[in-house]
Amino acid sequence: MTKDNIFKNIISDPIMVERGYLKEDEVDDLSINDGGENKIIKIIKIAVSGVVDKDSETSISRYINQSLNS
């Protein structure tokens, strides 16, 4: 299971479209390596990368926090 698999699984959740973070046709085209300013996608990427790289939960959540403060 690659980072991209997990990332795609998360962004394809119906809530993403329901709450307006993505349009339905955008889901398939997105990859974990793509850039972009969508904040929720940004934190999902941080979470997925951190978890797969076995970073600690504390440092991942700190990193997410920081990224949302900027």
Binding site: M1, N5, I6, N9, I10, D13, P14, I15, M16, R19, Y21, K39, I40, I43, I44, A47, V48, G50, V51, V52, E57, T58, I60, S61, I64, N65, L68, N69
Partner: protein, 728 residues
Amino acid sequence: MIIEKIEIENFMCYSGYNIFEFCEGINVIIGDNAYGKSKLYDAFYWVLYDQIFVSERKEFVNTAIVGSELISDKVKYESVDGEVSASVSITFNNKEQDRVYVLRRTYTAKIEGGEVVKNNNKNSVLIVIDKEMSFLSGSLIDDENQKQLIINKILPRNLKRYLWFQGEQVESIIDFNDQGALTSAINVLSNMSYYETIVNIAKRTFDEVNNEYNKKLRNQSRDIEQSVKLDNQKKTAEQGHRNTKVYLDQTKENIARAEEKCELLFSKVADAEAISKFNQKIKKAQDELAELKKLLDNENSNFIRALFQKKWLLKGMNSIGKEYEEKFFRYDKNKLEKINKKQILSELTSGTIETRLPINVPEPIYVKEMLDKERCLVCGREAKKDSDAWKAIEELLITKKNTADSNVNDQIFKNNFREEFYMLYRNHISIEDNKMPFIEEEIKDSIICRRNLKIKIIDLQNIIIEQNEKIHEIIGDSSIDCKSAEHILNEYAVMRDKKELYILEKNKWERQIADYILKIEQLNTELGDLVKGEIPNYLIEKKKILSDFLDIATSTRDRVFNGLVSRLENEANVHYTSMTKGNQATRGKIRLKKLPNGNYMPEIIDDEGRVMLGYNTGNLILIKLATIMAIVSASSTDNKVKYYTLITDAPFSVFGDDYTIGFCKAVSMVYRQSIIMSKEFYKNEALKIQLMNDSDINIGRVYMIRPSSIECERDNRNNLSTIIESLN
């Protein structure tokens, strides 16, 4: 990661240098019981974990405990002084990462005078070599942590129980009695842990931002006191919400347990109900029987009484009665005559009556002569026989005789039974007085009544026998006895009631949770209303994003898990079908049932979705194996386990020959490499040929092993080694 080879030197029954080379596919080591299969499994396990499986204890035991038992008896026997050692080396090849790992474990013992000296250094030594295949250069790993990391890479500890197991352990791989076992197996074997961790991170970050947000709300309040009050209320509500969620989870667990218990009992309830029904019938019949027996006893007593009291005894004695009547009349007449005669005689002798001739004149001798001659010798007239004159002469003789017999006649008066005889006569008269038809009816009624009672008694006895037979039939087919039947029914009723109560309780908690959520929302609004100025947009946005992130992470985890379970179910059925192909028995279909607490339990259903209960141990183990294979294959992108080798010793021992080929096919589908020790192919040549030629089986290397000992050497292991023959 592929196991290339295992080299074994003086390890248990493998004396001298031995080598098994393996490739992708199913590698099979064939050998009869005690030929060295389990020792080969031990060799693998020992290298990685410094333990071997001790069958007597049914557990893995450390080298420190086993000690010199690890070393071949042959080597120990042949050595007088010096050191002997056992060593096993496994070469793992990770083609994807261009790496080769060589793990070699050695245990050394001292021999003095042919005896093993107690080894103070009880530990074995593990050497790990990490090589880059392309350059054939390798480095020796000294750091123990590094060694453990490599071992964990070869076979992660949490996967060990699902990938390396012995036949004896198969049953315990997944404990179906533990509701969380399957869920935890799914978590271990799949990538669910990633999603679980992401949910944890989402919770943590949301809590942090929520605290930050609440702090801001308080600081910007125009009524700090009120804000603090509301905030405290909110905290209490949040705590209540958390507690109620815990209660809800507990109640869900209880519902799941009650449901499971109900289901477990349900399979027995039908039998228990039948037994109970039959028992009730028996009880009813026994009560009726006791009543009828009492009635019959009563009726019997009445009958005997009536025989005498109602003179039923005399029924059918009419002719005897008549005869008796005649006899009685004769007796009575005779008696009267005798009385009369006696009286006349008495009067004659006393002279009260005068006769034509004096008494005793003429003499009887002359009277007889007159009767013979039919003539009166006194007057000379003729007296023809039976004429009046003749009878008158005869009377003279009788009178004389009577006088002579007077003593005898007296007996009639001495034993006077007339009264008794008369009573008997009266009895006869009473029967004759047209009472007989009535008596006959009474007797008939009584006999019919008694006969009916006896028929009813026999019927009831037959009912009891019949119901008992039915009960024994059920007892024979199931494990329930009469006593436990009632217990099962009671327990089932209790469990059903409990389940109902828990469901009510669950509804109550759910209502409370909804109330808390509403309350928290209200308090949030009230707190918001107290804020003077603006909460920074970044904070509002951050809170919103992290709240949504938490929802998305949770939803994704559940969605992925449910999807995995669904895939798992399909794949488990593919493997189950494949494994059961060679057997004719009903197999059903595996269904992973979701429990109220969110856990999953496998069950077997028929084609109409009804649960099939009472499948045998073999099936149960096949379900476990199929489920494990499904977890392994469903979580792998190409349905093949690329990185880990399945090593199993005697996996078929619990489910028999019919499933052997099916199991190999299923293993072929799931595992890139497997090493299976089996005796099933040892004597069954056809099975062995099928194994090596079936196109659905990706066969690797096949070896036959056998002990070297000849007949005269079988009393000990002093000359034991293992002969390895490659079959392909």
